[in-house]
Symmetry: D2
Subunit: 361 residues, 4 copies
């Protein structure tokens, strides 16, 4: 096996500058953590409406001594002075801020981690129960799942970074959609508590969440229409039933996607579909059939681990997909998108060395 150093040596290429709006939450922290190590993207501003004036490392003690950026409330200046904008603001707020920044700076390109630009405004209004904050720019947004929409992302001005659950579900189901095999799916997802965001509440109190598993928003989560919309774009306009669950861990999502198929398909044929779809993807690891995905194997990384298992007795299959919800499900994918926007290698700052995954024939 040849070992290729994917993390190319710093050359004379000028750095791209990045501003992060809303840097006090978990996704903001992770974007910053990843970009501190990135050889070509340089964070120049981090903003917060509530904690302006505070060094960002006081909010995120992991970053103590690694950055001396101070939180500012000046979102327009932060956007205007950067080549690239990352918004980790809450939905509703984020869409308005990003739209305004793009309007002010024609050269700016943005990655929005909120839900505001992931689905069409009419679906958004139903799913989020509010008017869309920026319907005019919404049509410009490209859905930032590089494994499905890489080329369109590279040319975009506005990238809608996917939700954590849709990332796992779409990576699990897209190969079946592309193969015209998928006729329906039930996605049962298990998420760690960081997925609930950094704002504390009863459900995330350790003494309530530990030693507890529960479903929430069954068939009614905002990520369901996001899955359905982009699965249709991938080739299967089929119903998706989605039930998220909280499990007592910090990070990680395991999506167990129960796929209904147009025809009985055996293990080898299923394996081939996934191998063909993902063999060249740097962040997707087809770990089965001998092993099953485990969230712990992807913690802190941008990998998505996958396996597909046919169901006995007919045209169904289970596809398992494990990701770190804060990395491949949010900040890592945002860096992947920033790399595409900046014309950098897609894996830059995300893995330092990477070797080819051995795929048995």
């Amino acid at each position: 096996m040849d070992v290729t150093l994917m993390s190319a040596p710093p050359e004379s290429t000028p750095l791209h500058t990045v501003s992060i709006l809303g840097a006090t939450g978990y996704t903001g922290r992770e974007v910053l953590r990843l970009l501190i190590d990135h050889p070509h993207l340089e964070v120049i501003h981090v903003t917060s409406r509530r904690q302006a004036g505070t060094p960002v490392a006081d909010v995120h003690p992991e970053l103590f001594g690694r950055t001396d950026l101070v939180l500012s409330a000046k979102e327009p200046e932060a956007a205007a002075e950067a080549d690239l904008l990352v918004s980790c603001l809450p939905h509703g707020v984020s869409g308005a801020a990003v739209a305004s920044a793009l309007a002010a700076s024609p050269e700016l390109r943005a990655v929005d981690l909120s839900g505001d630009f992931r689905i069409p405004p009419n679906e958004y209004e139903q799913a989020y129960g509010r008017a869309h904050p920026a319907p005019d720019v919404a049509s410009e947004a490209i859905y930032g799942l590089p494994e499905l929409f890489r080329e369109r992302i590279a040319g975009a001005r506005l990238v809608a970074n996917p939700g954590c659950y849709p990332t796992a579900a779409l990576l699990a189901l897209a190969p079946l959609a592309k193969s015209r095999l998928l006729t329906g799916a039930t996605v049962d997802a298990k998420s760690g508590l960081s997925g609930a965001g950094a704002n504390p509440g009863p459900a995330t109190h350790f003494a309530n969440a530990n030693e507890n598993v529960t479903a929430y928003a069954p068939f009614a989560h905002r990520h369901a229409p996001e899955m359905q919309t982009h699965l249709a774009a991938a080739g299967a306009d089929v119903p998706v039933l989605f039930v998220p669950h909280l499990v007592p861990m910090d990070r990680g999502i395991l999506a167990s996607a129960y796929a209904e198929l147009a025809a009985t398909t055996d293990a080898d044929a299923l394996q081939k579909i996934y191998r063909d779809a993902y063999a060249h993807e740097p962040f997707l690891r087809l770990v089965g059939p001998d092993r099953l995905p485990a969230t712990k194997a992807v913690t802190g990384t941008n990998f998505a681990d996958l396996a597909v298992v046919p169901a006995p007795g007919g045209a169904r299959a289970l596809v398992l997909c494990a990701i770190d919800n804060l990395v491949k499900g949010a900040a890592g994918q945002a860096v992947q998108n920033l790399n595409l926007l900046a014309g950098r290698p897609e894996t830059e700052g995300l893995v330092h060395r990477r070797v080819a995954v051995e795929v048995s024939p």
Copy 2:
């Protein structure tokens, strides 16, 4: 609300004596813990093949000072001297020991917590990959899920205590089966690590299991035929797909049962089916529609918490069932069965007071 003391005062009724075979594992510990507090069942022997001579409280420090029983290797004597036998031995071993004890003592009645008598010997041989240890007595065994088979249990000589996953899945699906609505089901279950048993291995090492979620034995777990067999007995001879997952907690199972229905059924109709089926069950709590079951709410108890939610767009529903895998999924249910065998109130030793569950009409 009237408060009824279900735990009747100790009267002159003679105690029933109980021996526990295989008391060093988690289920043995839990049976013993529950029976120490039971007013009418008295444990007289606890056995272990490997740790004979050791006080049982040295193996289970929770019980220090609460029992001075010493582990013995004398299984035949333990069985012969008791009115009731509980076996927590491993499958294969347990069936042989229980069959031999029943043959030796015609008055003895037994609850077997292993998988040996839960399904017919021919299915057993396929699922467990071994010859059945006692095919002759297998036909006598009654499946010990009191909510479905209460009357037959009371008259049995041998009760096969259900597996933890089947307990949750069957309680979730039986009302739909009885209503002739169920046409198929996919059960996605999430279990704590005590379900893997007390023998340590890599999968249960804290540093591997914590911050980790993974599926195992998808569509291939021994509990799947157990679910299918007894769901058929409940009225629905339909395919059941079963995928268990390990989540980082000690105790608890949440079964998310995706039911396929013969006809679209709305929330009220579903709610009525469950209310009618379970309104008088002392250990089943229909917590929905406003709340969803959570494993933490049943920890350490014999309750099963349930909710049913119709899926949008057609003839499907999600039924959630949360139990403590070591109590309602094992030892508590065994005590429930022992109570039935001994002619005691079914809740004795399991709840001390209980009030009627308010069911809104």
Copy 3:
């Protein structure tokens, strides 16, 4: 070993009625949970200033179907109509409410779980940074650690239920204090997150607390003067250094008390001191020298497990004490105190059967 049924049969004794002020937090929930099973104490009112009108089981899903009490805001009525009052209100608020209730109802007797009556008002004002809410009645309060002050509690009108950390530290150190051996102590305590109370905040967010250990308020916690005051009452007016730590679990405190001794004392002599002090205590288990206390062995129980280990090279020893912070460290101890006030067996409602702890000579 003789098995004695400590949980005597319900006789014709009239029930004592209890009201719980502030029943929506963790200690309120635990008091209610324990009293639901208590054969002679009957909860008649539960109060909440913010959630009046809500069934208490909606706040605490563990209790669904076990009580139909509804939260009320009428604290004076709740106090006036009960024989016994338990206050789980926050400090400051609790002292005022309890004092007012006692003034209104001369027959009423109260257990206060807040910090308001545990130390003299002058120390209180320094430790809590506020004026004492009821200095007049403070002198009446008896410190509710039954193992040290049983007789005085039985005759009290007002019992100050000890803090969770002082319970563990005082049980660990009192025998050395009584023996006039203790000259100083450093208490390093490790607590689960329920000790921080049910109000959510960043420190208790699962994604911050899990996989994390940290000290807080080193040498500056309010429980330090409480330890010092009552250790002096037990015989050792010596300095106590106290450093609490949060560890990622729900429940439990392990206090590691590093004792400085007046003279080198060997293992046997230390063991004898603890055996003599605690041999007849129903809730104290001297588990060493062969085993060490573990919080898990006491979870959900009112036990305190203890071991004493001499340090090499001189006049020091480690005393370990494990309790469930919500039971022996709060609600269970409150029930112990209620039993003493009501003239009931001290263990009633806390253990159902208990056997003598074998103490090797």
Copy 4:
């Protein structure tokens, strides 16, 4: 603040090759994980006596697709072909293997992660209860704590990588030792379960370890003489009492070191001692006085976070030190030592960018 890229660009320097003996445990995995990303150290062999022939990524699924090294049993060849040897073998075994490798290859330089070379053979025999495996080469070994012994490590042929607990305790106490202030210490340490090694046993079973805190080997752990020996080398030949505890997390150690001082020393003076000692250390972060170390802030990193707090009423202080036991407490420190042996920047492969820690005057 100037941002300096510490991770210098790959130049024409030839890579140093590294072999890892015993790569199937947690420390072996972490060394490999770190070196995969290291720009100048290249792992060429990984060995295992039991799993030879297995791809190392099958044992450590985190590394799937990142290395195609296969475990080999050929320890002598692995050592002979490398510039640098890292041994993660168990104590006893490791010392013999390293001594033999050094004898066979005069140019080889080694870092041993076992306990075999950390203390003199006579102390070793007492602490480990066995004959020293290689007393002749023991005198050559340099204790690999770079913050104390950097210069000697750079010139060593054999580096004894410190134990996890001694790393935290020595970093906590060395500044006081150097200042001639330390007269004695009690170290109360809290460790995650990965510290117990990858071999499963009852103590590391999730269902036993979760929701549990316990002390072990009080005053009798092998790391105590290691602390005492090297604290003496740092300037304070004083008694150290050590009590380790297991807390329910994967990774991390918090050492709470209770220091006894020659004279009362106030907060400012203590702060100055630590600032002076560690201001230029790339991996030590003095986070106090406003914040306290938290294990979560160092997870996955080679940082040690420190704070010092004077005790009230006299000549004592608490020093807190948080590390990731598998990184700064094992594999990261090994990489730090490998860098020193190879003449590379000490932080190479451990942080990618690092900025100066702001120290308030």
